[in-house]
Amino acid sequence: MPGVLRYNSFARKNKANIKKETGKINNKTKQNMEKEIILNALNLSKYYKYYKSVFDIKRDVIKAVDDITFEVFRNEIFAVVGETGCGKSTLAKLVAGLINKTSGDIYYDGELLDYKDKKKNFRKKIQIVFQDPYSSLNPKKKIYKIISYPAVKNNIIKKRDRLDFAASLLKNVGLSEEILHSYPYELSGGQRQRVGIARSLSVSPELLILDEPVSALDMSISAQVLNLLMDLQAHDKMSYIFITHDLKIVRHIADRVCVMYGGKIMEISPSQDFFKEPAHPYSNILYNSMLPYNFKKQLNFTGLNGKNAGSGLISKEKGIEKGCVYFKKCYASKEICEKNEPPLKDVGDNRMASCFFPFTHPGL
């Protein structure tokens, strides 16, 4: 049972090594140079087409993910944030190979990511955990079968070893063996979410895509899941694409932050820098909508309904053909933004932003 072994012994042994690696390097440029890219996407797009009405044969296009390029480093937590409908889940499904891309390429470990290539076995290396712990587990199957299924399918374990295998995985996600024979509906949200994670871990993946893994959970339970994820990153060298809209969580666990809006990437920054000073105007709006948890009541509710609101669904009706996607809502916009699209480019300190006027603060 290689999967089990890996999680029990490997973890402890490598703890010290990892500490050394991450602790020493301070110089940011050096940090990035030494980092190994595990996944990169080049000009990736996903368009959905749909008929406006039964009588209209003209089709509208939703650019759910629109020409994006990014990379994820090994052993990092790469957080993707942005409001409803900005394309986060679409991106997750593209990387997981659950939907077909419209154009662009994804590379994994330098090789073209093609799930049909059976020899490369990408399915085993990349796993996805979904937002909803209630609907993502088969309600008719017992927990141990759910957890061990991918491992049996990938010939990692024999069918008769399922129970032991599942038990050890449960232990790794902090659950007791008692639930091996339970059904999903008998578990709490947090337990179900951890079962979902245990199932993904069963094939010893290298990259985990987590689509809002704690959004449906209570505060006390979400802390349990986040601790588990941080643990796995530190001990097992796991890499994550972590999708969320809770910036407090991003700040707590992420190494880098990727901000999306209207299917495009607005900014990619190391988490520390992002939370010191967001580069993109939209990042600023997101940052300012974080509720100041440990501060005195000081929310500025006014002004949120005006131009600075930066909220509501992205208008898909016309589809912006040129200019900045964020133009209509931007507080920093100038004439040039309406006609030209700002490319995602280096704005210093290993940061990228697609904006002609980065680091412009609201209210100026």
Binding site: E83, T84, G85, S188, G189, G190, Q191, D218, M219, S220, I221, S222, A223, Q224, L226, N227, M230, H245, D246, L247, K248, I249, R251, H252, I253, S271, Q272, I285, L286, S289, M290, L291, P292, Y293, N294, F295, K296, K297, L299, F301, T302, L304, N305, A309, G310, S311, G312, L313
Partner: protein, 337 residues
């Protein structure tokens, strides 16, 4: 139970409210899903009810309006008295003749539900859904009702004229939730129960809805019971907080006092389990967790309801624990406080 005192003209006071939940098909025993709850809110005030999922918050909200499912649950004791300006006398919703309930719902006390997707009718235009609510209480003409509906949509920062004929699916999640609030507010009630109105929304949209709730509170001197599982929202929007666990108020008091100086082990644990934002903040630190999770067993009598997860428990906690006043206006249900 109180902090700061009641205003004379306008308040909603819940006393000793107990709601029993019966198991389906006689499996197991009944539980008090809401257990001797005392709560009150003045006009122009927001009282937050904070607790995790399954703790009975929605049941509390529904029971206040006697909307709790009658097939499985029953109010066994308590009163919900409301005093509104313009009403001749105080009335107790729990003692109201059922046929008078519709005249109270929406007009004196209104409710906004957790999920706007299931509470709006998908095949009826939103404008019509709002005018329906008006017709249920007022005998006025269609154009007049339409005008009122539009003005309320405008108040919610939705272009009423343009969106009157929109179907729910044509609106974003945040807009649908605001339509729900418009619907709840259209009869100008004195009190509003908001059951997790922002839980289904993302941050920016959620902030928009919160700011709106703050605005209507100020404009209409509305008293609001705001149900949420998010402490940071409660902290930012409420005047006082009721920390709810397994059907009981575990701790209550002024928002600042509870957040700065929590007394009950559950409140302390909750506050510690959230990633926070102080200046000396350390990322990647292990978060504090509360072991286990809330189950139906926690609702049983004869022990502290937080016993199974408490870091301070001992054998003295194996009895019913009363809610005690610890200092002026601060109450906690724990023998160790």
């Amino acid at each position: 139970m109180a902090y700061g005192g009641k205003t004379k003209t306008m308040n909603l006071e819940i006393k000793d409210l107990t709601v029993r939940l019966y198991p389906k098909k006689n499996a197991g025993r009944h539980i008090n899903v809401v257990d001797s709850v005392d709560l009150y809110v003045n006009g122009g005030e927001i009282a937050a009810v904070v607790g995790e999922s399954g703790s009975g918050k929605s049941f509390l909200g529904l029971s206040i309006m006697r909307l709790n499912p009658p097939d499985v649950s029953e109010v066994v004791s308590g009163s919900v008295k409301i005093k509104c300006p313009g009403e001749k006398e105080e009335l107790d919703i729990m003692r109201l003749n059922p046929k008078n309930l519709p005249s109270v719902r929406g007009r004196l006390v209104s409710i906004v539900f957790q999920d706007p997707n299931t509470s709006l009718n998908p095949v009826i235009k939103i404008g019509e859904q709002i005018t329906e609510a008006i017709f249920a209480h007022k005998k006025i003409g269609k154009p007049e009702a339409k005008e009122i509906a539009i003005s309320y949509l405008n108040r919610m920062n939705i272009d009423g004229k343009a969106r009157f004929n929109a179907y729910p699916h044509e609106l974003s999640g945040g807009m649908r939730q605001r339509v729900m609030i418009a619907m709840a507010m259209v009869l100008n009630p004195c009190f509003l129960i908001a059951d997790e109105p922002t839980t289904a929304l993302d941050v920016t949209t959620s902030l928009q809805v919160l700011s709106l709730i703050e605005k209507i509170k100020l404009e209409s001197n509305l008293g609001i019971i705001f149900i949420t599982h998010d402490l940071s929202i409660a902290k930012n929007i409420s005047d006082k907080i009721y920390v709810f666990y397994a059907g009981q108020v575990m701790e209550c008091g002024k928002t600042e006092e509870i957040m700065d100086n929590p007394l009950h082990p559950y409140t302390v644990s909750l506050i510690n389990s959230v990633p926070s934002l102080p200046a000396d903040y350390m990322p990647k630190q292990k978060l504090f967790t509360i072991p286990g999770y809330l189950t139906k067993d926690d609702f049983t009598e004869g022990k502290c309801r937080f016993y199974s997860r408490c870091f301070k428990r001992d054998n003295n906690c194996l009895k019913n624990i009363p809610l005690n006043e610890i200092s002026r206006g601060m109450f906690a249900r724990c023998i160790k406080v």
